[in-house]
């Protein structure tokens, strides 16, 4: 019953979304605004409809309705209730509904904004969001495998069939227990990681919708960028948070001592982030100088295509081979949709190409706008590397029949110089100015922080660091830090002189009245800290592995661990746990016990390796239990990592998110700004 309600509601949402798109086009073309208003109402209605559907799935999951195939495949009796709820996005069918639900929520939120000034954009925003929503709902409804409400039946011939409604002669098949959620996904990080990533994905549809609306209506000003500024920042905030959480989850759960493995699924989430980040920077040039109008369009179109591509990749392993792709029901559909929207958007852009001419000239090669362009070039470079690395195995298989692996060494080698270039820009750009500028002016601003920053690598050499990569890294991040702090300092100083405020008050006012700029700088500081963590792992990580008898020890860098004991037991939730106890000594001093363990999930027959980690600001000592002989008597094999500085990665991630929140926080526009805006609008009209 509940399943039928959920399914019906989903079908209704699909029809309403289609109606919204059609009514919007009709209303706009025929000039009947009633239809446009009706389309807006349809957009608002999709959210409650998909909500009903999502709630129905949650109800089925929590109540263990195992006749529903999706419920049987992602939950089991032993799972706690909160995991049963999160199982909504634990499998492909459920996560497509979840994606649609978020999309509908964002569409409704957009529908509720004040449209008075931008009435002309409304119909096209409705079309883009509703077509996107209809596509995802259509996948769930029409592609057999993706329907989360399909039930299991036993045909008269004794075969198991999956169908929504009872096939003729079949009897309901109700398994006593489900298979349970993939153990990898039973981690707090995994509970919030997919929703945040999806939020980021979905929110990027909004700026895309406005961009398309601007293209169709032929508005060449930067209105669409101004309207969607906060949407874009929110999208970017969630995407960044999703990536950081994913890294943390990998570090805690995947048991390979790292946080990022250049897996296609990770790259799928990174790619829209890359274009989104380039977009965030280059829109500032359009707002300030009326330049890069075409480029910003290209960036947001690319971001949208990559969002859809990413959604597709993260939930299905179908890109792993040509065969898997051809056999999957949704692969070709996804590609048709991405192709159609991409080509459609580009042809719109071509149509408006001449209208989107730059209003201004480039000041100088080292002006702020030129540096933003270099920033974009580097981000695009990283994007090409990532995209090519993900796609190439398929191309190779298609043309030569040979499968190849494009693994981390490829990405690391190709992306490191590009990343270094971005860091250098981050150090220089804040000191540059828009418009005309000269090397002399830049040099004057730069030389002091430059000289100071060189002290850091020199000091490191004296302390015994000889690794060139690390020294360059230390130098660049100290330069960024100095330049960024200098920006805060001189801004606050200028305010203090002008308004006679105390320094902290000036700093506060400065930031709160220029949220985007200074929030951006806080993000840069976050990147600095994260880079420090990355240097720690990429350059200074050490590892060793050994098989120990009880009482024996293993030494790595300054750490020594002694294998004390091993125990093995079953748990209530269907796991068999093998847990080792090791004592850890640092510089010969006892610092505590760690409990690396291996969980074996009976239902899914999957092992999980949970590390024992001693974490300090300076470093992590990370112990994995790899294997063991018969209990108690024989030895156990441990893999041990020493990860210096890794915690700066997580601290930097927090600072990064904090900075994004500062930048995205709604600012109360002051009276003078409003007056100014009104005056500007008035002159623009006349």
């Amino acid at each position: 019953m509940i399943a039928n309600v959920g399914y019906f509601s989903l079908v209704l949402a699909f029809l309403v979304a289609l109606y919204g798109a059609i009514a919007a086009v009709y209303g706009e073309r025929s000039g009947r605004s009633r239809y446009i208003e009706s389309a807006r109402h349809a957009m608002l209605l999709t959210w409650p409809l998909v909500t009903v559907s999502a709630l129905a799935i949650i109800w089925l999951l929590v109540n263990g309705q195992y006749q529903i195939r999706y419920v049987a495949s992602v939950t089991s009796n032993s799972m706690p209730a909160y995991l049963k709820i999160t199982a909504l996005w634990g499998g492909q069918a459920g996560s497509l509904v979840f994606w649609s639900w978020l999309m509908a929520a964002f569409a409704s939120a957009v529908g509720l904004r004040k449209w008075r000034r931008d009435r002309d954009l409304l119909p096209w925003v409705v079309v883009v969001t509703m077509v996107t929503l209809a596509f995802f709902l259509g996948l769930v409804i029409f592609v057999g495998n993706e329907n989360p409400f399909a039930r299991l039946w036993l045909s008269p011939e004794g075969q198991q069939v999956t169908a929504l409604f009872q096939p003729r002669g079949a009897t309901p098949l109700v398994p006593p227990d489900g298979q349970g959620l993939n153990p990898l996904l039973r981690h707090p990080g995994m509970i919030i990681h997919p929703p945040t990533l999806y939020l980021g994905f979905v929110a990027f549809v909004v700026p895309y919708a406005f961009a398309i609306a601007a293209l169709v209506t032929g508005r060449t000003d930067d209105r669409w960028i101004r309207i969607t500024r906060r949407w874009t920042l929110v999208a970017w905030l969630f995407l960044s948070l999703g990536l950081i959480l994913g890294g943390r989850w990998a570090y805690d759960v995947l048991g390979w001592g790292g946080y990022w493995g250049w897996d296609p699924v990770e790259i799928a989430a990174l790619m829209p982030w890359l274009t989104g980040t380039a977009f965030l920077h280059s829109v500032m040039v359009q707002e300030k100088k009326g330049m890069l109008k075409r480029w910003n369009m290209i960036l947001i179109i690319l971001t949208y295509a990559l969002v859809i591509f990413g959604t597709f990749l993260t939930r299905s392993g179908v890109l792993s081979s040509v065969h898997a792709f051809a056999q999957s029901a949704i692969g070709p559909l996804f590609f048709a949709f991405i192709g159609a929207t991409f080509i459609g958007s580009l042809s719109l852009l071509v149509k408006r190409w001449d209208d989107l001419k730059a209003e201004n000239q480039l000041g100088s090669l080292i002006s702020r706008e030129a540096l933003f362009l270099f920033n974009n070039l580097l981000f695009m470079g990283i994007l090409v590397v990532c995209f090519w690395g993900v796609i190439f195995p398929l191309i190779s298989e298609l043309f030569t029949g040979q499968k190849v692996t494009v693994g981390p060494p490829f990405y690391e080698r190709a992306n490191s110089p590009l990343g270094l270039g971005l860091l250098l820009l981050m150090a220089i750009a804040p000191l540059s100015v828009f418009g005309r500028t000269s090397w002399k002016l830049l040099g004057k601003a730069l030389w002091k922080p430059l000289a100071l920053s060189l002290l850091v690598p020199i000091f490191s050499i004296l302390r015994g660091t000889t690794n060139l990569g690390a020294l360059i890294g230390y130098w660049v991040i100290s330069l960024i830090t100095l330049v960024t702090l200098y920006e805060f300092w001189r801004g606050a100083l200028a305010r203090r002189q002008r308004h006679g405020e105390s320094f902290p008050a000036a700093l506060w006012k400065l930031t709160s009245r220029n949220r985007r700029r200074y929030g951006g700088y806080v993000i840069h500081l976050g990147v600095v800290l994260m880079t420090l963590g990355i240097i720690g792992i990429e350059i200074f990580q050490a590892e060793t592995q050994g098989t120990l008898a009880q009482g024996e020890q293993l030494t790595l860098d300054r750490y020594t661990m002694i294998y004390d004991s091993l125990s093995q037991f079953d748990t209530q939730d269907g796991r068999n746990v093998t847990r080792a106890v090791v004592s850890v000594y640092r510089d010969g001093k006892y610092v505590g016990e760690l409990y690396p363990r291996k969980d074996f999930y009976y239902a899914s027959q999957q092992p999980m390796t949970i590390p024992g980690v001693r974490s300090t600001l300076e470093d992590d000592f990370y112990v994995l239990l790899v294997g063991w002989e018969s209990i108690g008597l024989g030895g156990a094999t441990f893999k041990v990592f020493h990860n210096p500085l890794v915690n700066f990665l997580w601290i930097g991630g927090l600072v990064f998110i904090l900075g994004t929140m500062v930048a995205a926080w709604p600012a109360r526009e002051s009276e003078s700004v409003l007056k100014f805006a009104r005056k500007r609008a008035a002159t623009a009209r006349s």
């Binding site: 000239q361 695009m380 190849v404 692996t405 494009v406 693994g407 200028a494 002189q497 220029n514 700004v673």
Partner: protein, 160 residues
């Protein structure tokens, strides 16, 4: 199906290895786990996609590591061992495709795209700048926020 055949062929080859009559006596002593992992780190088994062999927890990968250990103790070099796996399972066991044939594209396309991108960018910049040179009166940019304008002004004054 393909995965099953692969796993099967792997298991058969492992069995064949284990039953080799009189495995050659160790030449450089028993190799340590670290020596094994050093090589395993750069290999990928065809079944566990994207998980390097040194950290892969599956049984099949454990057996691969045993093969590496055995080969090492027989005095094989790292390259010989990698070559052995390539011959058995194809290029996909390597972390990056060997640079030959179509695979060259992996390494050539990204830098090429970057150079093309840089070229387009520089041409665009030149195109933007030329009219600027011709035009004497450069229009001052008007920041949208008068407060920012004031701040910029202040900052420039201070810097002078």
């Amino acid at each position: 199906m393909r995965k099953i055949t692969l796993t099967l062929s792997m298991m058969i080859s492992i069995l064949a290895l284990l039953t080799l009559p009189g495995a050659v006596a160790a030449q450089g002593g028993e190799p340590t786990d670290d020596e094994v992992n050093e090589i395993a780190k750069e290999l990928y088994c065809p079944v566990c996609e994207n998980v390097p062999l040194d950290v892969c927890p599956t049984l099949a990968c454990e057996q691969w590591r045993e093969i590496i250990r055995q080969k090492l103790s027989e005095g094989w070099t790292e390259d010989q061992i990698k070559q052995y796996f390539v011959e058995q399972y194809g290029d996909r066991v390597l972390a990056t495709p060997p640079a030959r044939g179509l695979n060259w594209l992996v390494y050539i396309l990204p830098p090429l795209a970057f150079v093309v991108g840089a070229y387009i960018l520089f041409r665009a910049i030149r195109g933007w700048r030329q009219p600027a040179m011709a035009e004497e009166s450069f229009p001052p940019t008007a920041p949208e926020d008068p407060y920012i304008a004031r701040l910029e002004e202040e900052l420039q004054k201070r810097d002078r």
